[in-house]
């Protein structure tokens, strides 16, 4: 299959998946039990059947499903998701846009950093497997991989925000930036970094184990391949064998994992966002689910799905460039 044809077929598949997600998106949130109008009015003096009906009408939920779907489809194509039910008066697009940057800053950078660190540990660990470094690194990565992020986050919060015992109180306890601080330029950037530091650290430590373990195992597999023995027989230096022959081949499965992880970055990191009160898309999703906020859920779900589909597409295309066998098969 030619490169262009391969890419076209992958793009078409991605578009079809996206179309399916769009339809699914509409029905999914309407089959979840619960009446948003009722939730909205619980505990208010305005509750009575007429008002429930009125609110149902205001939310557009009294129209027949096909009609609701047509409105939804039209709005989705124009990226108009309407107003959030519970963040009243706020446009879904704006609500999501406000959270995208903090999410990217936290999850994307920590994913990349944890991948870089994890891969390095995995490479050296696999290359010297059985060594003291390997045993230590494996123990460490297994420990951080299995450690609950929430628990680790609370410990880091208490140690480096609260300052316990020998640990200094270095960073803020939560949030994205200091409200009302009136900073700009580098001052603002430093303030954001100070708020980012602890959740970022927790995510990097928590995620690096996964990459390290995959890379190590993949590297050990490749090291047993014939071409490595051939290189050694030819007298190629060990470091050259590692970096020019073993690592590029061992990277293929790890590369897929990293790219797919990047697809999930919009989903945020709910537990860490919760511990550090970080205003990311993960927490927003929880809030939207709790309040059955259909428009917001639809917007978020579409964004998450699109991100994963695009990451998949990019992975497919890059993979075909890295390994031509994929294209051929």
């Amino acid at each position: 299959m030619g490169t262009r044809r391969y890419i076209l077929s992958k793009v078409l598949q991605a578009l079809l998946t996206l179309a399916f997600v769009m339809v699914f998106n509409f029905f999914l949130f309407r089959v979840i039990p619960g009446d948003p109008a009722a939730l909205l009015l619980r505990g208010t003096a305005a509750f009575n059947p007429e008002n429930v009906e009125r609110v149902t009408h205001e939310l557009g939920l009294d129209k027949p499903l096909p009609q609701q779907f047509l409105v939804y489809a039209q709005d989705t194509f124009t990226l108009n998701f309407g107003d959030s039910f519970f963040l009243k008066g706020q446009d879904v697009k704006t609500v999501i846009a406000d959270r995208i940057w903090p999410t990217l800053l936290l999850v994307a950078t920590s994913t990349l950093a944890s991948a870089a660190l994890g891969l390095l540990i995995g490479i050296y660990s696999g290359w010297r497997h059985g060594s003291r470094f390997d045993v230590g690194a494996q123990g460490f990565t297994l420990f951080v991989y299995s450690m609950p992020e929430f628990w680790f986050g609370i410990l880091v919060l208490m140690a480096f925000a609260g300052g316990i015992g020998p640990f200094p109180s270095l960073f803020p306890a939560g949030g994205y930036a200091t409200p009302g601080a009136d900073l700009s330029g580098l001052g603002h950037a430093a303030d954001v970094l100070n708020h980012l530091a602890l959740p970022w650290f927790v995510l990097v430590v928590a995620y690096m184990g996964e990459y390290s373990l995959i890379m190590r195992n993949s590297l050990i597999d490749v090291m047993n391949d014939d071409f490595v023995m051939t290189a050694r027989a030819k007298g190629v230096r060990e470091k050259q064998i590692l970096w020019r022959h073993v690592v590029p081949n061992a990277m293929l499965p790890t590369f897929t994992v990293v790219l797919l992880s990047l697809g999930f970055i919009f989903g945020g990191a709910i537990t860490v966002e919760y511990v550090f009160s970080y205003p990311g898309l993960g927490l927003l999703t929880v809030q939207a689910i709790d309040s059955k906020d259909f428009p917001l859920l639809q917007g978020l779900f579409l964004l998450f799905s699109a991100a994963v589909i695009i990451a998949n597409l990019v992975a497919d295309i890059l993979y075909s460039q890295l390994d031509p066998r994929v294209r051929a098969g």
Partner: protein, 650 residues
């Protein structure tokens, strides 16, 4: 050789770059912080910022649609009520002399002899934050807006108003009621509805929401109301969802000048973060929800704490007959609740078995108040009835057993679970109940094992399931439960909480919401509810309200477990002037009122510049610059070494 030179040059340049960027960053930071609003230094142009925190997110900052406890703190600083609450939930005496504290809008109330026509005199010395005067026109417009647009909370206070509210001149408001009533005569701060600026909300009715981007859907209910035009000493200037609400001074506030320039509410998602932020001085005041965290704060340096009582309770609702009550009005029988709970004797036995004092000790570590009736101990004076002596249902396991035994609920097969008696709707059916608690309410989860154990002791089996609020609402609406745990924040005036348990408030059809989540229906209770609405004498009204509470307690559709405590803590070295509501131990930020005096009385403690809000915490830009430089350097060294190795290999 050339390559090595290039490598060294690259490293040197990068090191120099890192150093220069660090120096520049330090200089820029110094420049930035010169104009910052840090409140711990004393220069003239620096603001005093009061930063408080909680875990609650405002539902809406617009009184048309807001209803959760959090947003009230912003309204108490920015909007007026007609009759303000005093610190003990009673009415502030209308007072034409303005001192900024006793600051309800009404200075005089005239009531016709038949108690059906009301004339309010409105003060003429207040201004909205955009300079417009506050007039009777604003009051009339707001009450009509609430009534005609079915504002979520305030509409309830306008139901007895007949027709439109009018403003014959700039200082008088008039309206009629559909029946004689004592609710609007100022004896109680019944109209808990904040007065809005007509010139702003009129625009929203035309689809123009000031401050909102054009093209966004706009209506009085869809309006975000930020930035706010308000009449109090502070107005909301900024709201970042999930992060903070910032309030600034109203430049046209004619009352005493507040000692603080800005109020910032920070939203944390958990108590641990609030406790940490308080101990390190990031915030000045915080509410926490768990007794354990509160206990740690009690021993913290420079932190003062208070456990207060507020109008709030947590209950176990019993499905009193969703499937067995007769169809009436919109209500049709639905669900599959156990028929035993339609019998008041079984409900009384459950109430009797639940030891509220034990729950308070075990779940709230003794900080709450054991619960009994619908009207909490902190309410408008005179409204509460308290069961004593023979009226009191337990706690007594033996008493509960005896009640069930006498009513014929016996354990005939010896499995420890009682069965329905002969002649009942379902003879022989074991008393095996579904008991739902809310995942979002840890105390309801913590209480469940105790309640289950007590019920087990009296021969009732329970199966406890934790679900989220949305799911539990569905379960209750469908009538598919026996016991469910939830809670309420009643108004200080009991009218609204009592109204929730009239027959017409039951979920009507299995899928529609109703406030009456116990499916309680007692025509005598309903009759008394209407009577108290029409009662013009306060004492006579309280008599009826007491009767209603007694009936509700005896019928026991609710087992009220406890009245919730409010845990607050603040930096003792920052601000003083908190006003607990009610006195002496209540909510230190006086969450009921308009305008609450606390926002004017809070001031920095002697020798302190006050708040911490605008202070940044963390490492400086220079250090970040160095960190960034080192990271870039490490990456560069790594890449260059890899390339060199590759080149040498070729």
């Amino acid at each position: 050789m050339k390559k090595r030179k290039a490598f060294r040059l690259g490293i040197t340049l990068m090191l120099a770059g890192a150093f220069v960027s660090a120096v520049l960053a330090q200089a820029a930071y110094a420049q930035d912080t010169t104009g910052a609003t840090g409140a711990t230094s004393q220069s003239d142009d620096q603001k005093v910022v009061f930063t408080w925190a909680g875990t609650g997110e405002p539902d809406s900052l617009n009184p048309m649609t807001g209803y959760s406890a959090t947003e009230f703190y912003f309204w108490t600083a920015s909007l007026h009520l007609l009759v303000d609450f005093n610190a003990d939930f009673g009415p502030e005496e209308p007072d034409p002399k303005f001192d900024g504290f006793n600051s309800g809008l009404v200075t005089d109330i005239q009531v016709s002899d038949d108690s059906m026509h009301y004339t309010y005199t409105i003060r003429d010395d207040l201004f909205w934050s955009d300079g417009e005067p506050v007039t009777a026109d604003d009051v009339a417009y707001t009450l009509n807006l609430y009534k005609n647009n079915h504002a979520y909370l305030p509409v309830g206070y306008t139901t007895l108003i007949d027709g439109e509210v009018t403003a014959p001149d700039a200082t008088h408001v008039e309206f009629d009621t559909t029946e004689p009533t004592g609710l609007y005569n100022g004896d109680s701060p019944y109209i808990y509805a904040y007065i809005l600026p007509k010139h702003i909300f009129e625009q929203t009715e035309r689809g123009v929401c000031p401050g909102q981007p054009e093209g966004e859907r706009c209506s009085p209910k869809a309006y975000s109301y930020v930035p706010q035009v308000g009449s109090g000493p502070f107005v909301m200037a900024e709201y970042k969802v999930g992060e903070f609400v910032r309030m600034e001074r109203n430049p046209y506030w004619p009352g005493p000048k507040p000692a603080i320039d800005e109020i910032i509410y920070r939203i944390y998602k958990n108590d641990d973060a609030i406790a940490t932020a308080l101990q390190t001085g990031e915030i000045d005041f915080g509410y926490v929800t768990t007794a354990n965290i509160f206990n740690t704060l009690k021993n913290a340096d420079n932190v003062d704490t208070m456990v207060g009582s507020i109008p709030s309770f947590s209950e176990i609702a019993m499905n009193s007959g969703s499937a067995y009550e007769k169809a009436e009005g919109a209500f049709t029988p639905h669900g599959d609740g156990h028929p035993a709970l339609a019998d008041p004797v079984v409900r009384q036995a459950i109430r009797m078995a639940i030891d509220s004092e034990q729950l308070n000790q075990q779940v709230l570590l003794g900080y709450g108040v054991p619960g009994d009736t619908l009207v909490p101990p902190v309410s408008v004076e005179g409204a509460r009835w308290e069961p004593t002596g023979a009226d009191k249902l337990g706690p007594s396991i033996d008493g509960a057993k005896q009640l069930l035994e006498d009513a014929g609920y016996v354990d005939s097969d010896g499995d420890g679970i009682r069965e329905m008696p002969a002649g009942s709707p379902d003879p022989g059916r074991p008393l095996d109940f579904r008991y739902y608690v809310r995942t979002s309410e840890q105390t309801s989860v913590d209480a469940a094992p105790f309640v289950s154990e007590w019920l087990q002791q009296i021969g009732i089996k329970t199966e406890v399931t934790a679900v989220n609020s949305a799911k539990l609402t569905d379960i209750i609406n469908a009538g598919e439960y026996e016991l469910s745990s939830w809670g309420w924040y009643p108004d200080p005036d009991p009218a609204s909480i009592l109204s929730y348990f009239t027959c017409d408030q039951r979920p009507p059809d299995g899928s529609t919401y109703g406030n009456n989540d116990a499916y309680y229906c007692n025509p005598e209770y309903d009759k008394l509810y209407q009577e108290q609405l029409g009662q013009t004498d306060a004492n006579a009204r309280w008599d009826i309200v007491h009767q209603m509470q007694k009936i509700f307690y005896e019928d026991s559709p609710y087992a009220i477990m406890w009245y919730d405590p409010v845990f607050s803590a603040w930096r003792a070295d920052r601000f003083t002037g908190y006003i607990p509501q009610p006195q002496p131990n209540g909510d230190p930020l006086e969450g009921w009122g308009g305008i609450s005096e606390v926002w004017l009385s809070l001031h920095p403690v002697a020798g302190s510049a006050g708040g911490s809000g605008a202070e940044t915490k963390g490492i400086s830009p220079a250090v970040w610059g160095i960190v960034a430089g080192v990271i870039v350097l490490l990456i560069a060294v790594f890449v260059i070494r890899r390339r060199r190795a590759a080149d040498e290999d070729v």
